[in-house]
Chain length 340, copies 3
C-alpha cells in the first residue's frame, strides 16, 4: 500500500509523495519505520514527528512536517486504518497431532485444533472452529460455526456456544454456581444441573467466568461483549448487545434487558431485573431493579442526577455546618444547647 | 421415575397421571420435554405451562393446567428435585495415558487423572482423587481423599488440600504473595517459604487465587466456600465455614473467625481480625477489626445500622440545606454573611 | 546452620546453645521442629513457645523460655531469615520431551521448559528462561534472559518481556483489548494490532490480565509489580516501579507515572494521566487526572484530606440536622414552613 492508495481509501487530502510505501499503522510514541500514525492532538503530533513513522494522519486544521493525510475525522480514519492493516485470519491448520479428540466428538469442516487441546466425548464443533492450545472442551459441549477459543480456555460439560463466538484465554464457562444449603454441619453444595449458553457473536474476555445454572441455562444474548475478569453467576440472563466492562459482576439470577452497559468494577445484586438500555457507572452497586434507560451511579446505586446532587451536597457540607454555626451565634445559641 | 414416585419423594399432592414419566428437572423458560419444573410465582407458571415441560411443582395455593405436584414449600421441593436428578459421579477412569505422573509421586486408589495433567515429584494424592485435564500439581503437593480438581487448575509446590476439596478451573493455589521490600533500586521480592492449606470440604471457585504464606500457611478452614475470582492474599487464616462471594478479597494476614460471610466485591484491609459470624455487605471495604456478629456495609465499612442512617441523612441533605436557607431568610441573613 | 551462625548473620544476642541446629523459618502458629520463629508480639511469642519451634527471634525488650536471638528490629531480622532460608533456584532442567517447540523458535542457553508447554513459531527466548508446564507462548513473542513463566501462563502472539520478568500462573498477556464500534447491527470488534511490553524486572500475579494495544504497546515499566487478578486494559502505559495491588484496574489508555501505587480493588477511568508517586487508596475510583504525589481515596476519588473531612462531616450529619431543628424551634418555625 502506498500513500496515494491510503488517501483514496480514507478520502483524505494527500500532502506528500504519492508513491511512499506504508507498511502498517503505529502509535505516536512507538511507531516503527514505514508505519502511518494518526495524531489526534498536538502532543501526539510532536511524538510522531520525532519518531520513525513514514507518514501521519491529521485533522483538517493540523499540518505536519512529515508526509501526511488530512481528514475530517482522524479518529474514524484511525479505525479505518486498523481495519485496513488487520491481518487476515490464518488458513485452517487442521487437528494438531497432539490435540486429543474423543472418538465420539463431531468436528466440522476446516478445523484448527491446537496442541494439547482436549475435546471430550460427544462434543460437537461447527465448521471453521479454532480451538487454541491447551483448551479443554467438556463432554457434550456444542460449538457453532466460526467459534474461536484462544489458548487455555475451559468449557465444562454441556456448554453451548453460538456462531462466531470468541472466548479469550483463561475464561471458564460452566463451572458450578455458588449455591449451597447451609446446614448444621456446614454448607452443602446444591447440584447445578443446568448449563451456559452464549448466543451468536458473543465475545468473552480473558479470565472471565460464567457459571452454569441450577436448571435451564445461564444465557448471554446475541452480540454481548464481556470483558476480562467479569463474573456472571448462575442463572443470569442477558439480553442482546449488552456490554460488561472489566471486573463487573452479576450475582445469581440477574436479568439484563437489551443493550445494558455495566462499566468497570460495577455489580448487580441477585435476582434483580435491569431494563433495556440501562447504564451502570463504574464501581456502582445496584441494589434495586432498574427501569429501561436508567442511568445509575454510586454504591448503593442511585439515579445519576440524584447521585451528582448528593456529591455536590457533600462537597458543600462543611460550608453548611458553618452556616448553621453562624445562625446559632446570631441567635446566641451554642451547638450543645439542646441539640444533643 | 414417574410422577407418583416423585410425589411420594416430595411428600406432594399428585394432580395428574401417576404413571407419567419424568426425566429431569428444568427451568420455567427453557424446560425440555419430559422435565418437571418448579414454579415459584405466576410468571414462572405461565412460562412453564407454555413450554414442553411434562409436569410442574407448585405451591399449595396454586393450580396448573399441566399435571402437577402441590407442595407446602416449592423452593425446598426444587432443591430436592436437584438432588434427585443429579447424576451420580462417573466411575473412576484411571490414569490417562497422556497424563504425566512423576515416578516419585504416590497415587491413591481409584484415581481419575485427565490428559496432560502433570503430577510433580513427591506429590501425594489420596484415594479417589479426580484431576482434570491440563491441571498442574506442583512438587510435593499433598491432596487428601476424594479431592476434585477441575480442568486447568494450578497448584504450586507444597500446597496441601484436605479431603473432599473441590477446586474449579483456572484457580491458582500457592503463588507467591505480593510482598516486596522497597529499596533505592526498586521493589525486591521477599521470599515466600510457606504454603497454602485448604482444610476438608473447602470449595474454590473458577479463577480464584490463594497465595502462599511467607512462613507457615495461608489457611482456609474446614468447609469454607470460596467463589469465582476471589483473592486471598498471603498469610490469611480463615476459620471454618466462611463464605466468600465472587470477587471479594482479603489483603495479607487477615484473620476471619468461623462462619464469616463476605458478599460480592467486598474487601478487608491487611492484618485485620474479623470475629465469628460477621457479615460484610457487597462492595464494603473493611478498614477496622470487626467484632463477632458484626454486620457492616459501605466503604469504609460501618456498622450496618449506622450506614443506613448515613444514607438516609444523605438523601435528606438538600432538604436540610433548604431549611438552613429558610432560617437565614427568617433572620435576614445570607449564606455569605459570615459563614465563609 | 546452627544458632550461633544465625546470631552472627542477624547481628543478634544469642541466648541458648550455640550448636543448636536450625533447619528453616516457621510461623508462630504452625512452626515445625527445627525451625526458628520470629515473634513480633506477645501473642506470637506464646504461640511459638507452645509449639515445636527450635528457637525464637525476639525484640530487645522481650525474653523467652526457648533458645532465642535478641535483635533490635525483629521484622527486619525476619526478612533476613526469609532470604537466608530461601532455596536456591533449581538447576536448569532442559526441554521436557513433552514440551512442543516450533522449529523456527530460538531458545537461549540453559532453558527449562515444562511438559506441554507450547512455544510458537518465531518465538525468541533469552538465556535461562523457565517456562512452566502447560504454558502457551504465542507466535513471535520475545522473552529476555532469566524470565520465569509459572505453569499455565498464556502469552498471545508478539508479546515482549524484558529480563528477569516473572509471570504467575493463569495470567494472560496480550488478549485483544475491549474495543468495539457500536453499529446498527451490534458491537463490532476494532482490530488490536499492537502488543504488550513488560520491561525488565516486572512481576505479574496469578490470573492478572494485560491487554494488547490497538497500535503500539500496552507498556509496563521497569520494576512494576502487578498483583493477582489485576486488569490493565489496552494502551495503558505504566512508568517504572509502580505497584498495583490485587483486583485493581486501569481502563484503556491510562498513563501512570513512576512509582504510582494502586491499592486493592481501586480503579482508574480511561485516558487519565496519573503523576509520579501518586497513591490511590483501596476501592478508590479515580475519575480525574492526578498530580504527582497526589493521595486520593473514595469513589469518585478525592484528595485524601478532603475525603477524610467529608467522612467526618457525614458522621456528624445527624447532629447537624438536630441543630437545625433546634434553631427552627427557637424561631417558632417547623421544617415545612417554607423549606420545601
Amino acid at each position: 500500500m502506498n500513500l496515494a492508495e491510503l488517501a483514496r481509501r480514507l478520502d483524505a487530502e494527500l500532502v506528500g509523495p504519492a508513491e511512499l510505501p506504508v507498511t502498517g499503522v503505529g502509535a505516536p510514541e512507538e511507531a516503527r519505520p514505514g508505519q502511518v500514525v494518526a495524531a489526534f492532538d498536538d502532543a501526539a503530533l510532536v511524538s510522531a514527528e520525532a519518531g520513525p513513522a513514514a507518514a501521519l494522519v491529521v485533522g483538517a486544521e493540523m499540518s505536519a512536517a512529515k508526509p501526511h493525510l488530512r481528514v475530517a475525522d482522524p479518529r474514524a480514519a484511525f479505525e479505518q486504518l486498523l481495519d485496513l492493516f488487520a491481518p487476515p485470519p490464518p488458513p485452517p491448520a487442521g487437528i494438531h497431532p497432539r490435540a486429543l479428540v474423543d472418538p465420539s466428538a463431531v468436528i466440522g469442516a476446516e478445523p484448527t485444533l491446537g496442541p494439547h487441546a482436549v475435546i471430550g466425548p460427544r462434543v460437537v464443533l461447527g465448521d471453521r472452529c479454532r480451538i487454541g492450545a491447551n483448551c479443554v472442551v467438556g463432554e457434550a459441549a456444542r460449538l457453532g460455526n466460526d467459534v474461536t477459543l484462544h489458548a487455555n480456555v475451559t468449557l465444562y460439560a454441556g456448554v453451548e456456544l453460538g456462531d462466531r463466538v470468541i472466548v479469550h484465554s483463561g475464561a471458564v464457562l460452566g463451572a458450578d454456581g455458588f449455591g449451597y444449603r447451609s446446614t448444621a454441619v456446614g454448607h452443602v453444595r446444591v447440584p447445578h444441573l443446568g448449563t451456559v449458553v452464549l448466543e451468536d457473536d458473543v465475545e468473552v474476555g480473558a479470565n472471565a467466568t460464567i457459571d452454569r445454572a441450577k436448571v435451564g441455562a445461564t444465557r448471554v444474548g446475541q452480540g454481548c461483549k464481556i470483558d476480562n475478569l467479569v463474573l456472571i453467576a448462575h442463572n443470569c440472563r442477558l439480553g442482546r448487545h449488552c456490554l460488561m466492562v472489566g471486573q463487573s459482576a452479576l450475582a445469581g439470577s440477574v436479568e439484563l434487558g437489551e443493550g445494558v452497559v455495566m462499566a468497570g468494577q460495577s455489580g448487580i445484586a441477585d435476582h434483580l431485573r435491569v431494563g433495556d438500555g440501562a447504564v451502570v457507572a463504574g464501581q456502582a452497586g445496584v441494589m434495586k431493579p432498574l427501569s429501561p434507560g436508567a442511568r445509575v451511579a454510586g454504591s448503593p446505586a442511585l439515579d445519576q442526577v440524584e447521585y451528582f446532587k448528593q456529591l455536590a451536597g457533600l462537597r458543600r457540607l462543611r460550608q453548611l455546618a458553618r452556616r448553621v454555626e453562624a445562625l446559632e451565634r446570631a441567635l446566641g445559641r451554642t451547638a450543645d444547647d439542646d441539640a444533643t
